[in-house]
Symmetry: C2
Subunit: 311 residues, 2 copies
């Protein structure tokens, strides 16, 4: 993002009023330079975004949401936390969550179990909480002991009460751009970006780390930023200058174009095949590449379905 | 991938025997150079991977799978395809699928409906196929007419019969590294890469296009290549030379390190904060960045769950 755009950002009413942005202490703006070029100014440090301050603002909004929900005659929201063992970090996290819940008027309870608890017992507890109309949200504090499968326990929570957003259905909905309960850390990163006024649409974003509960959902949230399109397919979109020497190029494009010589319609991919093949190490043609393989894989899926090999 | 590695690849028994790899016509290998250095050779063109040939091989494998399934006294796999309207491309695709199914011994049927079919009727058909024990796989040929919501229809298919792999549960399972029916195009790309012997683990992969039915599942398949790890977190992993001038840096790392001066344990993120803040335009600190925001978003999820705003 060029600095001139940033300057515009920082001086908008929205951002200058935001309590979570601390302006760098030695920001220098030369009044002499300003008439010459608005975009030349010196700034040596990033604006530090205070998650603490932004969280206070969001907690205020949640508190208002809770109050108006209750004022309509509804039950107060209730968060049940299952905490296993005595990992000090986990206990600290749970304490913070309970304290914050109480600040915004959300009831909470902690169900404490020893390190030796069985997976079966955890699933039983989850089942009870699933059907308890008093309970709005269920959270299993991770990590669980090695003898318990975290994914099995997380998927035991009914998706509607899965406030950590780790259930298969919540992840699937997130990936497919449907409303879902979003994993809290990913959601935190998203709010930090959006409330600071940073545009991500069309930008390159690097997510360092590919964990399933943090990196992956962040990548998916940013992936679904803005409308996604049915793949258009553009003949020769991928030219040889875009391709690293020795790369493998798999072309999934499907385009019908008129052959300038014969006048007939001809199938083409998205890759400039003749140019790129000179640089790549492996390449798939169109037709005769991904297309027939797709049909084969559909049949394989049918066999997997028939033989009940997945479900 | 360096050329020397490629040379090794191409001469392994597995790959040299593969019928889907066509060696470039003017591959030059100088016998004089060979004793000097095995990795110096000239090659001007990529090896073309024939999806057509690879698909034939896979179809043989499927045919064997079908036969052995039936020989155990099971019903022959059956694929039901719902085709709406008269889009010529869709009709061609469906014809190809039926022909290939018959080749491998899979029964298929096409349920043809006019462009004016209602979403309700489509969902009814899907429901009947869902409970029909004769039917192993259900496929709705896309695109559907504008008055029908594709996602609603695709999610009407029971996940066990969703051979296109577009159901929320199949996508969620794919993203979380669990067995699932994988969308056929993504699966095709995966097989092409793997059967050619190309390593993707630890490599940079560019997926151009971010459609939900092709680009996203391909990215997710490659994302889950190899074991994923609980995020370790490494203090000062992200240094200022990795960060573009003016970038926004959001640090989700959590590390407890001993302060060399005070000897006390101190919380740190993964970013070299003091160095990176001089280059970035926005930055979040640790502590006081993503952490409190995560707690706030958890509470927001609890409120959303209580007010039934998602489900």
């Amino acid at each position: 993002m060029p600095r001139n755009l940033l300057a515009t950002h920082c001086t908008t009413e929205h951002n200058s009023a935001a309590s979570w942005l601390s302006a760098p202490s030695f920001l220098c703006w030369s009044p002499l330079l300003e008439p010459l070029c608005q975009c030349i100014f010196l700034r040596h440090e990033a604006i530090v975004i205070s998650g603490t301050e932004m969280a206070k603002q969001i907690q205020k909004e949640i508190q208002q949401g809770v109050e108006s929900w209750i004022s309509l005659g509804n039950r107060r929201p209730h968060l049940s936390i299952i905490l296993v063992g005595d990992n000090p970090a986990s206990h600290t996290y749970v304490r913070n969550k309970i304290r914050a819940a109480s600040t915004v008027g959300i009831c909470s309870e902690v169900i404490l179990k020893p390190q030796t608890v069985s997976q079966e017992e955890l699933l039983d507890i989850v089942d009870q909480l699933n059907v308890d109309p008093r309970v709005s949200g269920i959270l299993v504090q991770l990590p669980l002991p090695d003898h318990v499968e975290e994914q099995t326990v997380c998927n035991g929570i009914t998706p509607e009460k899965d406030v950590d957003g780790f259930h298969i259905i919540n992840i699937g909905r997130l990936c497919l751009d449907q409303h879902s309960l979003i994993p809290a850390t990913a959601s935190a990163v998203w709010e930090i970006i959006k409330r600071t006024g940073i545009e991500t649409f069309g930008k390159n974003v690097v997510v360092a780390g590919r964990s399933k509960n943090v990196g992956m959902p962040i990548a998916m949230l940013l992936h679904t930023d803005g409308e996604h399109q049915r793949p258009g397919g553009i003949p020769k979109l991928i030219t040889s200058d875009m391709v690293k020497e020795g790369a493998t190029v798999i072309d999934v494009g499907i385009n019908y174009v008129q052959d300038p010589v014969t006048g007939k319609m001809r199938l083409m991919g998205d890759v400039d095949f003749e140019a790129v093949r000179k640089k790549a190490s492996f390449i798939t043609p169109v037709p005769g590449g991904v297309g027939p393989m797709t049909v084969a894989m559909l049949l394989k899926n049918t066999l997997l379905a028939a033989t009940k090999s997945v479900y």
